[in-house]
């Protein structure tokens, strides 16, 4: 039950309270660039969620077994190679390189998959699909997972990493779809010329961020509610 509570909290936190776009400022480029129409925006959101989940899965596995301090695989390799038992082999300095390569590979894989099974969607995405590699949100999710794998007494399991990834991706989708809906309306409004395009989009994003700030404190409420539920 405690695992489930924790998982729900991680998910809600990533999706709403600490929304990737509106609180952590990651994924801004597609947020501004692909949010003109709701259907494209929603498609982009789903693609990003898909890639984030795959990347989180692969990166968690690599970090847990190889890249964190006191990881089992380097420890075994060190022992087998006859290294000094007082010291350990810490491969965490290679983390960022590994993460970005895994992300690039994930995007490549998703691109092949979408091209094979959803050719119309592939054509409508155009150049934006490979650009998901430079989407900060995916690397950010991997970095957050890495942060939670540093303390050997409190390691995140795969379920928590995926909870963060899927929650973050869905939060991104929500934010980008909302922005697209608002921008579709803005097209019909009389926006001052200097602010047209990115300027007004950012101001709208600021108001959305203010609205999402209303979710602060929800974590505590959910935790209390779930604890009460578990006690019954």
């Amino acid at each position: 039950m405690e695992t489930l509570t924790g998982l729900v909290l991680i998910f809600i936190s990533a999706a709403l309270i600490n929304n990737f776009v509106l609180h952590y400022f990651v994924g801004i480029c597609p947020f501004l660039g692909v949010s003109r129409r709701v259907d494209t925006a929603f498609g982009m959101g789903c693609a990003v969620t898909f890639v984030i989940s795959i990347a989180a899965l692969l990166n968690w596995t690599l970090t847990y077994f190889v890249l964190r301090p006191e990881a089992p695989v380097p420890a075994w390799a060190w022992r087998v190679a006859g290294g000094d038992p007082a010291r350990e082999l810490d491969l965490s300095v290679l983390s960022y390189i590994v993460y970005i390569f895994v992300i690039a590979a994930s995007v490549q894989f998703v691109e092949m998959y979408v091209r094979r099974f959803f050719p119309a969607l592939y054509r409508s995405f155009g150049v934006y699909l490979p650009l998901i590699t430079t989407n900060c949100a995916i690397l950010f999710a991997s970095l957050e997972i890495m942060k939670q794998l540093q303390d050997p007494t409190r390691l995140w399991g795969l379920h928590q990493a995926l909870g963060l990834a899927v929650g973050g991706g869905l939060g991104f989708t929500l934010a980008i779809a909302l922005m697209a809906g608002i921008r579709e309306e803005l097209d019909l409004c009389d926006v001052p010329v200097p602010l047209k395009g990115a300027g007004i989009a950012l101001i709208v994003a600021g108001i959305m961020a203010m609205a999402f700030m209303g979710f602060t404190g929800v974590e505590r409420g959910v935790e209390t509610a779930l604890a009460a539920l578990a006690a019954r």
């Binding site: 300095v93 290679l94 390189i97 007494t153 602060t216 404190g217 974590e219 505590r220 935790e223």
Partner: protein
């Protein structure tokens, strides 16, 4: 163009990537050797530098580290505060929990008899700037000094009268209550194992 020459072409192109990867890997290993020790020291200092504040008279250089299993079944690293002459002065216990805006991580100082809280230090917090983040300030934290460690602390909005009452920060009641809850939970969880450690162990 046949299949074989194209594949050979890709292989030839890939050698640059491989060479670069090896060079970069070597470079990063050098950087890690150069500054890795300093980073680890910085991380330790984060906690150790606060120990003389948390347990007055303690010498950070002599601090001992222990891994204890709390009553909730999970491991926690606790620090044994030791004076310059080697005498056991108290404990420093990390604690964390949910605050208003996010997770709060604190260090709680205890005396050797586990009867009094000797100090509180906030490591990480994401409370509202200007309101909740006053939990980092001395005015709030100094209230914890001298409080009983065996009775759960409670937070009141007006004057704190009883020994176990802490006065909340104006406009940040939830943040204040969160800190008190985190301290209470950590003490309840680790009091037993700490007492057994002090009594039975070396």
């Amino acid at each position: 163009m046949g299949e074989a020459p194209r594949r050979a072409g890709y292989l030839a192109q890939a050698w640059l990537v491989v060479v670069l990867a090896l060079l970069y890997g070597g470079g990063l290993a050098a950087v890690e050797t150069l500054v890795g020790g300093r980073i680890a020291e910085n991380r330790r200092q984060e906690t150790y530098a606060a120990i003389p504040y948390l347990v007055p008279g303690a010498d950070p250089g002599h601090t001992g580290e222990l891994l204890l299993v709390g009553d909730d079944g999970r491991e926690t690293k606790v620090y044994q505060a030791v004076g310059p002459a080697g005498e056991h002065l108290g404990w420093v216990v990390p604690a964390s929990g949910q605050g208003f805006g996010g997770a709060i991580e604190v260090l709680v100082g205890l005396d050797a008899e586990l009867g009094t809280i000797t100090g509180l230090y906030v490591l990480e917090q994401r409370e509202t700037p200007g309101l909740g983040d006053h939990i980092r300030g001395d005015a709030f934290r100094s209230q914890f000094r001298g409080r009983p460690a065996e009775v759960p602390l409670s937070v009141v909005k007006l004057e704190a009268e009883a020994e176990h009452e802490i006065r909340a920060i104006t406009g940040a009641t939830i943040s204040s209550e969160s800190v008190a809850n985190i301290v209470n939970q950590a003490l309840a969880n680790l009091r037993g194992p700490l007492a057994r450690q002090a009594g039975g162990g070396g």
